[in-house]
Subunit: 336 residues, 2 copies
Amino acid sequence: MTLQDVARQAEVSLATASRVLNGTSQVRADLRERVLAAAAELAYTPNAHAQALAGASRQALGVICHDVSDPYFAAIARGVMRAAAEHGQLVMLASTNRDPAREVEYIAMLRAQRARAILLIGSGFEDRGWERSMAAELDPYQRAGGRVAVVSRHRSLKVDAVVPENREGAAALARALLDLGHRDFAVLTGPLSLTTVSDRLAGFRDALTEAGVSLGPERVIEAAFTRDGGHAAATELMRRGLRPTCVFAVTDVMAIGALTAFREGGLDVPHDISLAGFDDIPIVGDLTPPLTTVALPLDEMGERVTKLALREPRGHRSRVERITGEVVLRASTAPL
Amino acid sequence: MTLQDVARQAEVSLATASRVLNGTSQVRADLRERVLAAAAELAYTPNAHAQALAGASRQALGVICHDVSDPYFAAIARGVMRAAAEHGQLVMLASTNRDPAREVEYIAMLRAQRARAILLIGSGFEDRGWERSMAAELDPYQRAGGRVAVVSRHRSLKVDAVVPENREGAAALARALLDLGHRDFAVLTGPLSLTTVSDRLAGFRDALTEAGVSLGPERVIEAAFTRDGGHAAATELMRRGLRPTCVFAVTDVMAIGALTAFREGGLDVPHDISLAGFDDIPIVGDLTPPLTTVALPLDEMGERVTKLALREPRGHRSRVERITGEVVLRASTAPL
DNA sequence: CTGAAAGCGCTTACAG
DNA sequence: CTGAAAGCGCTTACAG
């Protein structure tokens, strides 16, 4: 079933059939009818590869994330899908499990597919080697007209970005918790080499310091950047015999694991210990108690990064859209 | 940057360069080296469209789901991504929000992209019109060598399928709840036109009937097939003044909404009312109380449907892999 | 407005 | 083993 077949059946030239089907120029009404009828009858679908090769515009967009099943990503992906659909773009999705080699490999595949844009969702690493190999794949792609945009800070990638104000958000959260009367904190974090983690930790700590409250190194517990990591970190906190009045998990996903760990450890949240997260992923309102957090408009962030990538670049400057997080106090944090 | 450039720089023919790069046949070592060096130096990436056109095998796989951000789908998608990665396949993902028109449109796009396989995740509708239009897109795709596989029952689609034993699972759950002493039930459901919904409801009801327990029509509350739908259905249940001792929500996602609705309504789960779901999505163990449910190996289901689609078809028979659900009793259901 | 033809970047028989 | 050439299915100047 090729365009040629359609043309033959409609008794017109290949060129005419093509013009009718993609509406690029005027075609006499009767020929037009014949082509449409033939296409319908043959259940013709154009070969997107041939179209792409012949120079039509790309109709697919690549997205790289760490894990499709992480609710943080899932919420952002929702916005991406919506915006992509609006622009008639198909989304090619890859999860890397934070394996840098996989990341590079997927970018190569997306380059090969001549994706119209590549979206990187999730924070980058503060790591020279990683940055270099990413740039090695991304540069030729961009030189060939590919567009790149990211969600979260990527130190040295000069691309359009939607970046949540992690530092300010964490600081605002710290202030809100101080206002509740807390003076004794602990933080559960993911790997500090992730920009998101280090920014949130820094913002939180800065606000405490400003209020004259210190956060000793033994009160910052690093674990995997997942629900299980949160569970492990909270368990470790209890094992160390530390009993801060308030705990900040740098993401809601980690906070969820921590919440369960506290329950298993016999600590009641918020009666025995207050707990706060960051992101406001959809589920946290359904937890018991509902989680205090810094709300990010995840869905909208996905939409915005997609639009950034699809909009024409203006000049060679990369655009950055900052997203403000809003502190939402819920029942998981109690006044002291 | 084309293969031609690489060939020129390596001073070999186009054919030789191609053969080196995709390793199809033996090439003299020195030529091989030169080609590899040239490709590396030029940061060459093959054009997947040209490769596909020229007859190389497809390297992308299409997945159609209702909503990327639904945890049920996300869990399955995880398995799909893993299996796809193992086979060097890129995944093109589309969410349809259960809009049949969108579904058909995406299948057309995937056909155009000559996806190697199309995976439909999530239950189909019991609807002639829908079936007809799906078949109209899927048939030509399959005739052209495309492979189709689904998760969940699709009555009239003759394709490979991974199908959870919804009916049996719901019946087993009902029996477990009866064993706890419950005799007074209500069910919160999604649209009955979804095969998954009707199968689960039927299985649950059958087991009750067998035990001589009836489930009146006013005790089956239909709402949207989402968290909010579960919330609405539970709220409606309370509004009607019904106080069953045990409620079955046909999915965990709906149960999550119901749990919050009960809490808001001042009902303690499981003290005042027991609650059970279906699917065992990852989050339910972190709820308070953790949710009783019928566990499905979601991740593995994603992996299996992908492998089904990628494996050679044997004959014209469609293969069906049945998945048994396992009742997991947790704290959300109490003995009476 | 319409058609013949070139060209997009590959792969793979077919000769040698 | 290597190369010249055909062909995959389109789009789009270029003539007419």
